[in-house]
Amino acid sequence: MVRRRRYCKFCSDKVDYIDYKDVRTLTPYVPEGSKMTPRRLSGVCSSHQRKLSRAIKRARHLALLSYIPD
């Protein structure tokens, strides 16, 4: 994932709450069900990264996302 200009997608979309049930917004940040994309690659701001990581962990617990790579 190489990008020239990185920006926080959640900030520009004005997302205030990241829902763990909304798997479609989470999947881009866990490529092939592996580790979460670090902030330095995805450009997500720190407050949204915290919300995102919590949502991903919740989704994993409910088997909406996998813990291990496919």
């Binding site: 205030d16 049930k21 088997a63 996998s66 813990y67």
Partner: protein, 133 residues
């Protein structure tokens, strides 16, 4: 009032009737403990991202509860642990997060209304100054 989101994953072996029945019992348990069931969302069968108890599918049900204390949630979780048809559950408290989201939203709107208009005129002024120099 606290707001809770209780997500339950049921075994795929249950029939639709059994699913409805268990949802009803969940509601009953919650109401017994003075909680109001604000919403019930039945997603139906969904593939699991990884097998749980040798099941590859699960029936997802999401309950939204409103209650003054955490009593019904505690009772529900205690029952979930015993029930064999429940293969996973997750309870989260959402009222605080939603309140915060609301705060951000209102702050954004108030910012949009007043200070930006003055900020723009400021910019124009500084620009004209720079040209004069």
């Amino acid at each position: 009032m606290r707001r809770y989101e209780v997500a339950v994953v049921l075994a795929p072996t249950l029939t639709e009737e059994e699913v409805d029945q268990s949802i009803e019992t969940f509601q009953k348990i919650a109401e017994e403990k003075q909680a109001q069931v604000a919403d019930v969302d039945n997603w139906g069968k969904r593939k699991l991202a990884y097998p749980i108890n040798k099941y590859t599918e699960g029936i997802y049900v999401i309950l939204t509860l409103e209650e003054p204390a955490a009593e019904s949630v505690a009772e529900l979780e205690r029952r979930f642990k015993v029930m064999e048809s429940v293969i996973r559950f997750l309870t989260i408290r959402v009222d605080l997060d939603l309140k915060r989201a609301e705060k951000f939203k209102s702050r954004r709107q108030s910012k949009k209304r007043s200070p930006t208009s003055t900020g723009e005129t400021d910019k124009i002024q500084t620009k004209s100054v720079a040209v004069e120099d």
